[in-house]
C-alpha cells in the first residue's frame, strides 16, 4: 500500500526497502557472477582442458556416488525415526524426539575427526557415507517429524476405513503428504554433501570441494580450481531444480473447520525391542562415539592442551564473529522478508529466488569469489573482518530469512495501523508493534546463523583477517597436524555451543510446520 503512494510518510518506506533488497540480492549473486566470469574469461580451450579431464571424472563419480548412497540412508533414518517418534507408542517417544535431533550438535568435521582418530584406517566412500549419514540425517528427520505431527489423521482414518492396511496407509497416504518435507530435507543434505570440506578431507575422500581446496592450497585462485568450482556450482543448481520439480505444486494443508484430531499412534507390540535397539544404535554411532572420542583425547591430553593464550582468543573471536554475523544477517534479511510478506509480487519472488540460489553455493566458492573480488576490486577491505562477515551473511542469509518471514506474517499490518490510529507516529508504531512481534522469530533466525558461523570452516580459512583464529580453524590446524589431543578442547567447545542452538532449531521446526 505504502509503496503505491496511498498515504504519506509510510514507516515501511517501501521504495527504500525495494532498493535495499535489490542491492542485497545483487550482492548475493557475487559468487555466481564470479564463477561465470572466470569461466568466460579463462578461454574456451583451457576450460575444456581443465573440465574434461580424468580427475574431474573421478571427482564427479565420487560426489555423485556419495549423494546417491547417503541420501537414501538419510531418508530411511530420518523418515523412519520420525514415524517411530510421532506415530507409534514407542516408549519414551518424547525423549527420543529430541535425541534424534542431537547429532546436529556435533559438527560433521568433528564427527569425522572422532571416527578417524578412533579407527585410523577409515577412508574413502564407505567412510564418507558413514560420517555424512550420521551427521546429516537429522536435517530430514526434523522437518519430517514436524510435518508428521501436524498431518490431519482424518485422511488416514478414511483410507483405513476403505480397507487399506497400516503399511498401505503409510506408503499411499502418509508418505505422499511428507513429500515437501522430504524434498526440502533431502536438498539440504545434498547441498551439505557437496559443500562439506573438513569431514571428507579428514578421511581422504575426494569430492569437488576438497579438490578445490587442494587447488587453492597449491595455486591460490588458479584456473583449475576455478573450473572445478564452476562444475560444483552447476551441480548445486541442478539439485535446486530437481528439488523444485519433486516438490511440485500440490497443497497438503487442511482446509476444513474445527479442531484437528490427534494422530493415532500405532502399537509396536513385539517390535518395540527391535525399534528401541535400532534407535539406540543410531544414537550410539552418531552421538556417543564422537563424544567418547573427544573425551578420550581430552583425558590423554591432560591440562597441557588448554593453552589459555591460544584458547581464549579463539573463543572470543568466534563469539565476536558469531554474534556480529548473526545480527548483521538478520538486519540484512529484514527488507527482503518484509517485502515478501507485505508486498508479495513477482519482484519479491525474484529477490527470494536470487537468495535461494546463493544459499546453495558452497563456502569454498563464496570464499574464492570474495578473496578474488576483494583483491582486485576493493583492496581497501581486503583481509578485513568485513569481507568475512559479508561472506557469512551471504552464506547464511536464508536461515534468517525463513524465520523472519514467518515472524512478520504473524504481525499483521492491521495492528500497526491500529497503533497509528491511536496517535503513535509511524516509526513508533512500526518499532513498538511490528518489530516487537517478530523479535522472537528474529532471535531464532539469529541463533541459527550464529551456530552456522561457529562451525564454518572453508570460507573462514580463505577469508579470515591476519592473525584471526576461530574455534573451527584452530581445531582444523591442530587435527591436520594429527595433534588429536590438542584439537579436543576446540571440538568440545564447538559441541557445547551447538547444543542450545540445536534445541532452538528443533523447537522452531514444530512451530514452522503449523504455518
Amino acid at each position: 500500500m505504502a509503496g503505491k503512494g496511498g498515504r504519506p510518510g509510510p514507516p515501511s518506506g517501501a521504495t527504500t526497502l525495494v532498493i535495499l533488497a535489490t542491492l542485497i540480492a545483487a550482492f548475493s549473486l557475487v559468487p555466481l557472477g564470479y564463477v561465470a566470469f572466470m569461466t568466460l574469461t579463462t578461454g574456451w580451450d583451457t576450460v575444456m582442458e581443465l573440465v574434461f579431464r580424468p580427475r574431474v571424472g573421478e571427482l564427479l563419480l565420487n560426489t555423485i556416488l556419495l549423494v546417491v548412497v547417503t541420501l537414501p540412508l538419510c531418508l530411511v533414518l530420518g523418515v523412519g525415526g520420525a514415524w517411530l517418534v510421532e506415530r507409534t507408542d514407542l516408549r519414551g517417544h518424547r525423549w527420543w524426539a529430541l535425541a534424534l535431533a542431537a547429532p546436529l550438535a556435533i559438527p560433521a568435521f568433528v564427527n569425522s575427526y572422532a571416527w578417524a582418530s578412533t579407527i585410523p584406517s577409515l577412508a574413502g566412500l564407505g567412510a564418507g557415507t558413514l560420517i555424512a549419514t550420521l551427521s546429516y540425517f537429522p536435517l530430514i528427520y526434523i522437518p519430517v517429524a514436524a510435518t508428521l505431527g501436524r498431518l490431519d489423521p482424518a485422511i488416514e482414518q478414511s483410507a483405513a476405513s476403505l480397507g487399506l492396511g497400516p503399511w498401505a496407509v503409510f506408503f499411499r497416504v502418509v508418505l505422499p503428504q511428507l513429500r515437501i518435507a522430504m524434498a526440502g530435507g533431502s536438498l539440504l543434505v545434498a547441498l551439505h554433501l557437496l559443500s562439506e570440506y573438513g569431514a571428507f578431507a579428514m578421511i581422504r575422500f575426494d569430492t569437488f570441494t576438497t579438490a578445490i581446496m587442494i587447488q587453492f592450497q597449491s595455486t591460490f585462485n588458479g584456473a583449475a580450481g576455478n573450473m572445478l568450482a564452476s562444475v560444483l556450482v552447476l551441480l548445486c543448481l541442478l539439485l535446486l531444480v530437481s528439488e523444485a520439480k519433486i516438490r511440485g505444486n500440490a497443497r497438503y494443508s487442511r482446509v476444513g473447520s474445527g479442531a484437528q484430531g490427534l494422530a493415532i499412534r500405532m502399537r509396536l507390540g513385539r517390535h518395540e525391542i527391535g525399534a528401541q535397539s535400532l534407535l539406540v544404535a543410531v544414537l550410539v554411532l552418531s552421538v556417543c562415539v564422537p563424544l567418547y572420542s573427544v573425551v578420550r583425547w581430552l583425558i590423554a591430553g591432560g591440562i597441557a592442551i588448554w593453552d589459555p593464550t591460544e584458547f581464549f582468543p579463539a573463543l572470543a573471536q568466534t563469539m565476536g564473529y558469531g554474534l556480529t554475523g548473526a545480527l548483521v544477517t538478520c538486519v540484512v534479511a529484514f527488507p527482503m522478508a518484509f517485502l515478501a510478506v507485505r508486498h508479495a509480487n513477482w519482484f519479491s519472488k525474484l529477490l527470494e529466488l536470487s537468495n535461494y540460489i546463493t544459499s546453495s553455493m558452497p563456502g569454498i566458492v563464496v570464499g574464492l569469489a570474495f578473496v578474488t573480488v576483494a583483491i582486485r576490486l576493493v583492496p581497501g577491505i581486503y583481509q578485513s573482518a568485513y569481507v568475512l562477515l559479508a561472506a557469512y551473511v551471504l552464506l547464511f542469509l536464508p536461515r534468517a530469512l525463513v524465520n523472519l518471514r514467518a515472524g512478520l506474517s504473524q504481525a499483521p499490518r492491521e495492528l500497526e495501523e491500529a497503533a497509528r490510529s491511536l496517535g503513535r507516529s509511524p516509526a513508533v508504531a512500526f518499532f513498538r508493534v511490528t518489530l516487537r512481534l517478530c523479535a522472537p522469530a528474529a532471535a531464532g533466525g539469529a541463533a541459527l546463523v550464529f551456530l552456522a558461523i561457529v562451525n564454518e570452516l572453508t570460507a573462514t580459512l580463505l577469508l579470515a583477517p591476519n592473525g584471526t583464529r576461530t574455534l573451527a580453524t584452530a581445531f582444523w590446524a591442530k587435527s591436520s597436524e594429527i595433534d588429536y589431543a590438542g584439537a579436543a578442547p576446540y571440538a568440545l567447545l564447538m559441541i557445547l555451543i551447538s547444543i542450545p542452538m540445536t534445541y532452538v532449531l528443533f523447537q522452531q521446526s514444530k512451530k514452522a510446520a503449523g504455518q
Binding site: R53, S121, G320, Y321
Partner: protein
Amino acid sequence: MTIRKNVLTGLALLATAALSLTACSSDAPSTDASDAGEITVYNAQHESLAKEWVDAFTAETGIKVTVRNGSDTEMSNQIIQEGDASPADVFLTENSPAMTQVENAGLFADIDEATVEQVPADFRPSTNKWIGIAARSTVFVYDAKKIDEDQLPQSMLDLEKPEWKGKWAASPTGADFQAIVAALLELKGEEATAQWLAGMKENVTAYKGNSTAMKAVNAGEIDAALIYHYYYYGDQAKTGENSKNVTPYYFKNEDPGAFVSVSGGGVLASSKHAEQAQEFLKFVTGKKGQEILKTGTSFEYAVGSDVASNEKLVPLKELQAPSIDPAKLDSAKVAELMTKAGLL
C-alpha cells in the same frame, strides 16, 4: 510469553554490545602498535616452529608479529595477486619453489648483507633476494616387516615401476612433495617427470599430509611412504606412537630422492616496515633463531650461523644430496604437470 520475548530481546541487545566490542578490537590492530613497531608474517612453515621464532623474536626486540598461516604456493600466489598492496612484510616457506615464484614476480627486496653472511651459499639463491632459514631432506620410510633391505628401491625413480603398485604413500597435494617433484623436473626434465608422475598416479596411495602418510606405514596400512625426514624424528622424540614400526631410508647418491629442500624467508619490497622485517630474518638466521632448530621440536636442519643441527639427525653432509640452485625450482610447472597427471 511476554517475559520470554523480553528475555530474547535482551539477549539480542547483549549480543550487539558484545559484538561491537570484539569487532572493534579485531578491526583495528594497527592503532595499538608499540614503539618497537610491528610486522605481518605470511607463514607457510609449521605453525609450531614459526611460533617459537616469533615468540623469541618479540621477547628480544619488542616488535609485535602478526602471523597468517597457509601453505607455500597458496601464499606465494596470494602475494603475487596482492602485489604492492600486500599486507605481508615477511614471507616464510617450507620449500624453495614458492620463494622463487615471488622472486620472479619481482616482489622481494634485497636481503640485508649482514643476514646473507650468516648463511652459507649452499642454502640461499645466488640472487640474495631471499634466504635459507632451515632445510629438510627427502626420506623413504618403510615397514621393515614388509620390505627387506635388499628390496628397497635404488632410486626414487623406481617407484613408478609396476612392482611398486599400491605399495607406497605420499602427500601429493602438499608443497613438500611438490618441491621434490620440482627437483625431479630440474634434474631430469619435463618428459621424464611427466612419465614418472603418470606411473606414480597408478602406484601411489595419496594421504593428506606427510605425518598421516607415515602414520599409515606405522599402522601397517601401506608398505612405505616418501616424506621429509623430520616427521620421523619429531615423532620418535615424542612418543614414537606413529613411527615405532617405521624405518627411515635415504636414497643418497645425488638421486632426485635425495633432494634437500631449503626453507626460505624473504622481505617484501612493498613492506612498510622493512627495517623490522629485515631484523626478523636476521634473527631467524642468526644464532638464537637457528638454535631453536637444534634444540626445539621441529627437527629441521639448521643452515645458518654455524649452528649444528640436532644430533639425532643424520648429518646433512652425509646425505649426498643433488646440487640444485633453489632459484630454478618451478612450482607453476609442477602444479600443471601434477594436475595433468590427475594428482591434483
